[in-house]
């Protein structure tokens, strides 16, 4: 064959075949190959911001120091222990706050601000640590740690009258390293004491140290095991409860519950404050007869001017680059599971940015332009979707709506409307209607955890109304007036307690007037139960109470030859859309 006819053949074949091959390429390419370069900025819209994501708040009377209250705020959820090489730290750009309303007007009267600062000792390496991390000395802590984070705690006092007072309680406070694993952090617990700080307070709350340990504040900030426990996978799967027979459980029959947060770490702020600092004659806001404190956590980031007005470039003149914009609250948490299970999806951004003092105005549609949001929020509380679901799925009898009991438990604090039996010490005792559990006097409704700090609500001492063996499974519903929803202890099984509350367990005591004939069936106790009733690690008897974080190797060992645990997303069917 001479070259010319061959070339001609090839040419005519090419004319036919090229489109065919290209077409085939399109099909082959169809799956993972993008041939279209994007000539505009496809900046992400979904911002996963774990450092500014607050997940849980706890407020309890310190079991080993009952004249103090311990407040815990958790951030950076669902940390896998094997997080390297970019291990989790608090955000240096984030303003973290534990807020306390100690007068009941839904305003942060005493806040504790945490600001972090990270130093990389050797910026040339990406390594978190260069050798086994040891405690080191005060002057040179954790010598092998490359990424060191310290923080400042500032107490912000906003009395009901008079100017705001800001007081730095401590600066340059050390955080512990994360629990990397068996070689880097073999004796993790030995690294923690250096990160527990005791801050002495002078006479009359002034700076200094009066030498009286009762006035000390304790603080810790760092990685811990996530103290929350819940069967995420089943509860958010159309409220299935594994330990039950179908239809409440799964068709294949009852099993044990599965803690969706086992082996997961968080970053915790733990603060222990003398109660006298918040309540009573000598509180930091002056004489304060109120004994109930409301507690919530927030995280904020700074906004910024889009155009700074750099000389010669932008209108508006000159000036240096400035990011001194206001801090904008991007995350907020009070009562457990409210942000996740009660706040409608459409209101998430709004709710996370909202100050609790505006909750009730929003709720009652008193904020112009936000009436729709208010109605949505109110219907979410007064006609909870969970209740509908319980009725529809499992024929759990429904108390009549509107559920003012839910409103009281979550937004106001509880003052009983009928006689109620609590266990004082070990003795069942009936308390009359009108007993105040944790409702502030003349309080403004808002979403936060409320804890009564008065002496009868402290465990142990004389006159205590607490159950001597705490009822962590049922809390207040089980007659333990010192348990959730009066505050939240680390051990309280809040998922079950909230399920039972929504099913009307407190209905007869809290606002029963809507439907006096409703009676809650005690048979539901143990049935409305996700089967996860305790944390995956033992809590500590002393500060900071939360268990040490899971280590990378420890969890790695557990997962060898096992599938990675399933982080479960909330399925939307749990709520009406």
């Amino acid at each position: 064959v001479s070259p010319k006819p061959f070339q001609r053949l090839l040419r005519s074949l090419s004319l036919v075949l090229t489109p065919v091959v290209l077409l085939t390429t399109v099909f082959v390419a169809q799956a993972p190959v993008q041939v279209g370069a994007s000539s505009h900025r496809e900046a992400p819209l979904i911002a996963f911001d774990p450092q500014a994501d607050t997940t849980d708040v706890y407020a309890f009377i310190s079991p080993d120091r009952t004249d103090s209250v311990t407040l815990v705020a958790n951030y950076i959820p669902l940390q896998a222990a094997y997080g390297g090489p970019n291990y989790y730290t608090f955000g240096d750009d984030v303003l973290y706050k534990i807020n306390v309303d100690n007068v009941g007007d839904a305003k942060a009267r005493v806040s504790y601000e945490f600001r972090f600062s990270t130093t990389t000792r050797n910026p040339l390496t990406f390594l978190y640590n260069t050798n086994t991390i040891t405690p080191g000395t005060e002057a040179n802590p954790y010598p092998a740690l490359n990424v060191v984070q310290v923080y400042t705690v500032t107490e912000v006092i906003s009395p009901t009258s008079g100017p705001e007072v800001r007081r730095v309680l401590g600066g340059n406070l050390l955080t512990p390293p994360v629990n990397v694993g068996g070689k880097s952090t073999p004796n993790y617990d030995s690294l923690v004491p250096q990160a527990i700080h005791t801050i002495g307070i002078g006479a009359n709350n002034a700076p200094g140290d009066d030498g009286n340990a009762a006035n000390d504040i304790r603080v810790f900030a760092g990685q811990r095991d996530d103290p929350f426990f819940v069967d995420l996978s089943s509860v958010f799967d159309l409220l299935s409860l594994r330990p039950q027979n179908p239809p409440i459980g799964y068709p294949e029959g009852p099993t044990v519950g599965s803690d969706g947060l086992r082996y997961a770490n968080v970053h915790s702020l733990v603060l222990q404050i003398p109660i006298s600092r918040l309540n009573g004659a000598n509180s930091v806001i002056g004489n304060n007869p109120e004994t109930v404190i409301g507690v919530w956590s927030t995280a904020s980031r700074q906004t910024t001017r889009v155009l700074n007005g750099i000389a010669g470039f932008a209108p508006g003149g000159s000036g240096p680059v400035s990011n001194s914009g206001q801090f904008v609250q991007v995350s907020r948490l009070g009562m457990p599971l409210v942000n996740e299970a009660v706040i409608p999806r459409a209101l998430k951004d709004a709710f996370n940015a909202l100050d609790p003092s505006l909750d009730f105005q929003l709720y009652t549609s008193a904020i112009p332009g936000f009436e729709g949001a208010g109605q949505l929020l109110q219907s979410s509380v007064l006609t909870p979707e969970l209740q509908t679901l319980l009725g529809a799925l499992y024929s759990v009898p429904n108390p009549q709506r509107p559920r003012l009991d839910i409103q009281e438990i979550f937004l106001q604090g509880i003052r009983t409307d009928a006689p109620f039996t609590i266990t004082v010490g070990t003795t069942p005792t009936s308390v009359p209607a009108g007993t105040n559990v944790n409702q502030p006097t003349n309080g403004t409704p808002s979403e936060m955890i409320r804890l009564n700090t008065a002496a009868p609500f402290r465990p142990g001492g004389q006159g205590s109304l607490c159950k001597s063996t705490p009822d962590y499974q049922l809390g207040l519903l089980g007659g333990d007036v010192c348990g959730f929803p009066n505050g939240r202890r680390l051990q309280d099984d809040v998922t079950d307690i909230e399920l039972l509350a929504v099913a009307g367990a407190a209905y007869g005591v809290v606002n029963p007037s809507q439907n006096p004939s409703f009676s809650f069936s005690p048979a539901l106790i143990g049935v409305l139960d996700d089967g996860v009733s305790r944390n995956d690690k033992e809590f500590l008897p002393t500060f900071p109470y939360l268990a040490s974080p899971w280590g990378g190797k420890e969890v790695g060992d557990i997962y060898i030859n096992r599938q990675r645990f399933n982080i479960v997303l909330r399925l939307p069917g749990v709520r009406a859309e």
Binding site: T24, T25, V35, I46, F48, P50, D93, N323, L569
Partner: protein, 452 residues
């Protein structure tokens, strides 16, 4: 329209002088695409988990988790076919998967489920935001703006709706409105999404230090090991690169690679730095590695330019041919022609008339400064100087510190006989970033000297 119909109209490609070359090239392309598909399989299963935040308990889904989430939502929808929320969440997962894999087939899947979500709930804000994002990805900016506005009306406190609006306004060249909307967005919710948009607007307005500062904040506000964080880290690198700071750029690209090993955009950034520093072998290796992961034309163009610069003419022209074939594929699969590709043709004096027509149409749809610059360059290449000057002035109107735009403007001024202006523009281009282009930075230097 089928590819065959389409290509039969494109006589220039196949009835050119050497159709057999195109046949062989198309075979090569098929082979390379098939190769990439094949090699991607293991890569995609080992990729660390990037994240999309799904509502609820800080639930985090990404990578394998995103695929699992998609499967879970699909199963859920089988039993609950009326759940608007599940459709919208599934669409959002598809969009993130499209981002991560570069696989455009996720776009049509997302489109379908977002429509379903709206069918079951016409007020579904997630669906509106999703459809807006989708329209942006498809370069349908007017529609994107409409979706953004609808979503914002339906939920005025949702920052994402403002993001869609802001992106669309930027592409439509309505910068003042975009500034106002993004200001509202960052005031509503300062986070990675809003900071990165603040950064882009500052960059467009010529404030590079401010842009770098905002992008740093975006990186700091991102989750660990997520595609979104790696993406903003690369943008931070680009900002440093575009201001001539190669060391700063390298650090940011390295950071992106530390977040997501083998992140193609990070690799391409490192390739650009290597090329700018004259380390051509390293640049070639990095570009090849990036193309192995995601074969984007911009990477192939970059690789071709390195070959060209390194004196490997044949290897360079292989890349040009590949880009040409990619462009054919693009058109065949209905993707809006990109400005980069049209600029590529204009740069190489190919199909100048067509490139001009394409860019005029593109400018009509998105009259922003980048479209104006591309159009100006095509007009210049077509010898239409007064009009080129008009669009070039428009491209520079915000004071953007973009070296290539200044170079383009310089060439136009020089052609118009304005030596002083041309000199000033070349000088500005080189001051902004002496490494702005392998192809044009040396040319700018020569022209500047010749004009002194």
């Amino acid at each position: 329209v089928s590819l065959v119909e389409h290509t039969s109209r494109k006589k220039t490609l196949f009835a050119g002088k050497r159709p057999e070359l195109f046949f062989l090239l198309s075979l090569a392309l098929l082979a390379s695409v098939a190769m990439v598909r094949w090699t991607q399989q293991p890569a995609s299963t080992t990729a660390p988990a990037p994240a999309v935040s799904i509502n609820g308990l800080g639930g985090r889904v990404g990578g394998r988790d995103a695929q699992a989430a998609a499967a879970q939502l699909q199963a859920f929808l089988k039993d609950n076919p009326g759940s608007s929320g599940a459709y919208a969440q599934l669409g959002t997962v598809y969009l993130q998967l499209a981002r991560e894999s570069g696989d455009p087939s996720f776009y049509s899947k997302a489109d379908e489920v977002f429509q379903q979500a709206l069918k079951h709930d016409e007020q579904s804000v997630d669906a509106m935001v999703g459809l807006g994002t989708l329209a942006l990805a498809r370069h349908q900016f007017a529609q994107a703006l409409e979706w953004g506005e609808r979503a914002h009306t339906a939920n005025p406190y949702l920052a994402q709706a403002l993001g869609v609006k802001g992106d669309a306004l930027i592409e439509l060249g309505r910068y003042d409105e975009a500034v106002a909307v993004v200001q509202q967005m960052v005031d509503t919710r300062p986070d990675l999404a809003s900071y990165s948009r603040v950064s882009y607007l500052r960059e467009l307005h010529g404030d590079l230090p401010g842009a770098i500062d905002a992008m740093r904040r975006a990186v700091a506000a991102g989750g660990p090991a997520t595609e979104n964080t790696a993406w903003v880290a690369v943008q931070l690198g680009n900002l440093h690169f575009n201001s001539g700071d190669l060391a700063g750029a390298a650090q940011a690209y390295q950071q992106a690679m530390a977040l997501l090993p083998n992140y193609a955009y990070g690799r391409a950034g490192l390739a650009r730095i290597a090329a700018a520093e004259g380390r051509y072998d390293a640049a070639i290796a990095e570009y090849r590695a990036a193309i192995d992961v995601v074969p984007l034309p911009e990477f192939v163009i970059g690789l071709g330019e390195v070959y060209e610069r390194a004196g490997q003419a044949q290897a360079a022209s292989d890349q040009w041919a590949l880009v040409g074939a990619m462009q054919q594929l693009n058109q065949a699969s209905g993707v809006d022609v990109d400005l980069e590709l049209a600029l590529f043709e204009a740069d190489r004096d190919q199909n100048l008339t067509e490139a001009l027509t394409t860019l005029r149409a593109a400018y009509e749809r998105r009259p922003g400064i980048h479209a104006a610059d591309a159009l100006a360059w095509a007009l210049f290449k077509n010898g239409q100087l007064p009009e080129a000057r008009r669009y070039s002035d428009e491209a520079l109107r915000l004071g953007t510190r973009d070296a290539l735009m200044h170079y383009h403007a310089g060439r136009i001024a020089e052609a118009q006989g304005e030596a002083a202006r041309a000199r000033q523009l070349y000088q500005q281009a080189l001051t902004i970033n002496p490494h702005f282009s392998l192809r044009y930075a040396p040319d700018a230097k020569e022209r500047l000297q010749a004009l002194q």
